[in-house]
């Protein structure tokens, strides 16, 4: 599994270079390459991931990277939001690199873990997909705020030239949120189900903080869908909720380190 991951790492790094090139004053790379190179990485990476048991942190990080790049390609193809790669490219490259360091290759340790159940695999996959979608919503919101500032301050620099229009970023944020929230919800429910079926007790801190975070995410989606929040307010809400997810994860991870949870 090491070689496919190294190939994916190289392709993601190349795609990141393509995304950064225009900001470094180079001519934009043809769209075929900005779509094709990360997509090739996704294919190699995806094929490798089907043979990795989803146990431990390294495969989870690797899968998160896979979904991030997949969403990057989707954003570029459907929204012409190539600037998303400015965030997803380095992040995914770093995550695959980290997974290789921890692994040393995902799923290739001396003590190879037993394969998880199908339900557990589904729980992990859906949860990570939800997390990747929320990360995309965060990225779209951040790009929105940067472009908003560029337009308001009339700088007309690289952000103005290379970032997508405000409305498109707002639409991308909306879509990522309304898809990400149900995915995270389903992932959490599946997680409870898997633990309950396995007779494993759930950490109360995880329940309390997880529920609070879920409520915050739900509120963010609610104000967008029901109260039609858009623009800067929606961007700030999206950034706040994703930041809360990250902080809660870090707090729980630091307070109870271990590999029994995939994250």
């Amino acid at each position: 599994m090491l070689i496919p991951h190294l190939i994916a790492l190289g392709l993601y790094a190349l795609a990141t270079g393509f995304a950064l090139a225009p900001f470094a004053g180079r001519r934009p790379v043809p769209r075929g390459l900005t779509l094709g190179v990360p997509l090739a990485g996704v294919l190699v990476h995806g094929a490798a991931m089907t043979r990795v048991p989803l146990v431990g942190v390294a495969p989870a990080l690797s899968m998160l990277a896979l979904f991030l790049i997949l969403l990057q390609v989707g954003s570029e193809a459907a929204f012409r939001a190539s600037a998303v790669a400015l965030f997803t490219g380095p992040l995914a490259t770093g995550l695959v690199g980290l997974a290789l360091l921890i692994g040393p290759g995902p799923g290739t340790g001396a003590a190879r873990p037993a394969a998880p159940s199908a339900w557990s695999t589904l729980h992990i996959t859906v949860s990570i997909l939800g997390l990747a979608l929320l990360a995309l919503a965060f990225i779209a919101a951040a790009l929105y705020l940067l472009q908003f500032r560029e337009l308001k301050t009339k700088r007309f620099g690289p952000v103005f030239r290379l970032f997508p229009p405000l409305e498109r970023l707002d639409q991308l944020n909306y879509l990522a949120l309304v898809l990400g929230f149900p995915a995270v919800t389903l992932g959490v429910l599946l997680g409870y189900g898997v633990r309950y079926a396995g007779g494993v007790a759930v950490d109360p801190a995880q329940v309390v903080w997880g529920t609070l975070t879920w409520l915050l995410l739900g509120w963010t989606v609610g104000v967008r869908v029901v109260r039609h929040w858009a623009g800067r307010r929606a961007a700030f809400a999206s950034i706040a909720s994703f930041t809360a997810v990250l902080l809660v994860y870090l707090a729980l991870k630091l307070s109870a380190p271990g590999s029994e949870r995939f994250l």
Binding site: R27, Q147, L151, K152, K154, F156, F160, R161, F163, P165, L166, E167, R168, Q171, H228, W229, A230, G231, R232, R233
Partner: protein, 423 residues
């Protein structure tokens, strides 16, 4: 000028002022007659490219009198005794081809790299198709390809290099699509009308035109398919419009925070793009501080345009390289297109001479045995082939290098050959 080659005779924005160019501009319906008049002076084909920035006659195989015919045609349009030649230029052969390629690529445009000229070149060619002739057909076809190649392989067409196109660019960074957006025009200035037409080309609908003089607003509104209203009734419409174009002649700001803030508050967070093209400015800067209001004045738009123009200038060497490559490619075709028929005729002519002289010689040498007669015939063949070998080779090499045109012309004149039919 000899009756061979390609020439361009005309004027452009560098050589003639606007009032002169306006007089020289030909509507599509006037083109056939103008070309007919010029071609009557002796040319194998012609295309007239007439835009607001240039009027150029492209001519194939023009006789010496043709440029004068062009100047006479244009001078008549001045109508005041001035000669059009004082404003114009004549370029020939490779330079003429290069000129058209540069025009098509946007390298010769007032706004460097603008793409509208590509459509105008195509239109000129379409209109003149019956009068263009095969050489100009090929030239204009290749010019369109050169324009497309320059735009796809260089950054010459990137960005918005004029204030109205910068307005479109700025609006395009706020809205996902401009198609179907509604625009409100305040004032009836020419700049706003121009910007409105630029936005209209992107699918923006001008729904309202407001002006202090209602009659003027009505005139513009009718032209744009919009509704006219007095200026004082415009403020409430800031709640619905996506784009507001301002170009009143007011000496002070007419769009004030107090007038438009209540309407903007009703927009529910939808962005509003205000393009203030007036000097002095029409919009109070405080309006731009409102949430989701994006206000740009003429200086801002010119800054966007200047930035794009500066970026485009970096692309000139790459674009010129493509033009040079394509000029050479065309010239190879042009030089080589007549080589086969001329060589065939040249060979036939000498073969006829050989046969005539051989027959005459053999009549005098009737006592020779058949083998000897064959020897003499073979000798004549070999001699002719030796004579033809070097000129044929030289012509083929010159054609491959794109330099056969002069040699072919010399061959035709020296041996009295017919001009070949263009293929």
């Amino acid at each position: 000028m000899s009756a061979a080659g390609i020439a361009v005779v005309g004027v452009n924005h560098r050589t003639a002022p606007l009032d002169v160019r306006e007089r020289f501009a030909h509507a599509a319906r006037e083109v056939p007659a103008a070309l007919e008049r010029v071609l009557a002076a002796g040319a194998g084909g012609g295309v007239l490219l007439s835009t607001c920035n240039r009027t150029e006659f492209y001519l194939a195989d023009p006789e010496a009198a043709v440029p004068e015919a062009v100047w006479a045609t244009l001078s008549d349009r001045l109508g005041d005794g001035r000669s059009a030649s004082a404003y114009g230029y004549v370029q020939r052969d490779r330079d003429a081809v290069r000129h058209l390629y540069r025009v098509s690529a946007g390298l010769d445009s007032m706004i460097l790299g603008e793409s509208q000229i590509q459509g105008q070149v195509r239109e000129a060619w379409e209109i003149a198709k019956p009068q263009a002739g095969p050489v100009l057909h090929r030239l204009f076809q290749s010019a369109l390809l050169v324009g497309a190649r320059v735009r796809s392989e260089t950054g010459l067409a990137l960005g918005a290099a004029s204030a109205p196109s910068a307005a479109v660019r700025v609006a395009g960074k706020i809205f996902t699509k401009l198609t179907g957006r509604s625009a409100l025009i305040l004032g009836a200035g020419d700049v706003a009308e121009l910007a409105a037409s630029c936005l209209g080309a992107e699918g923006v609908r001008v729904t309202l035109v407001a002006n202090r003089t209602y009659e003027r607003a009505t005139a513009i509104a009718e032209a744009l398919g919009a509704r006219a209203l007095p200026l004082d009734e415009a403020w409430d419409h800031f709640a619905e419009a996506d784009i507001v174009l301002c170009s009143t002649a007011a000496p002070h700001a007419v769009v004030t925070w107090q007038r438009v803030a209540p309407a903007i508050a009703r927009r529910g967070g939808r962005p509003l793009c205000i393009l203030d093209l007036a000097v002095p400015r029409d919009v109070e800067p405080a309006v731009g501080q409102l949430e989701n209001v994006f206000l740009y004045d003429i200086d801002d738009l010119q800054a966007v345009a200047a930035q794009a123009a500066a970026e485009r200038r970096h692309e000139i060497p790459a674009a010129e390289r493509i033009v040079s490559e394509e000029v050479e490619r065309f010239w190879v075709w042009y030089g080589g297109r007549g080589i086969v028929p001329v060589l065939t005729e040249f060979r036939d002519r000498l073969e006829a001479v050989r046969q005539a002289e051989l027959e005459r010689a053999l009549r005098r040498l009737g006592h020779l045995a058949p083998d000897d007669r064959n020897q003499i015939e073979q000798f004549s063949h070999a001699l002719l082939n030796k004579f033809l070998h070097h000129p044929t080779l030289a012509l083929k090499q010159a054609a491959a290098a794109g330099r056969s045109y002069g040699l072919l012309d010399a061959l035709r004149q020296l041996f009295g050959l017919e001009r070949p039919h263009d293929s």
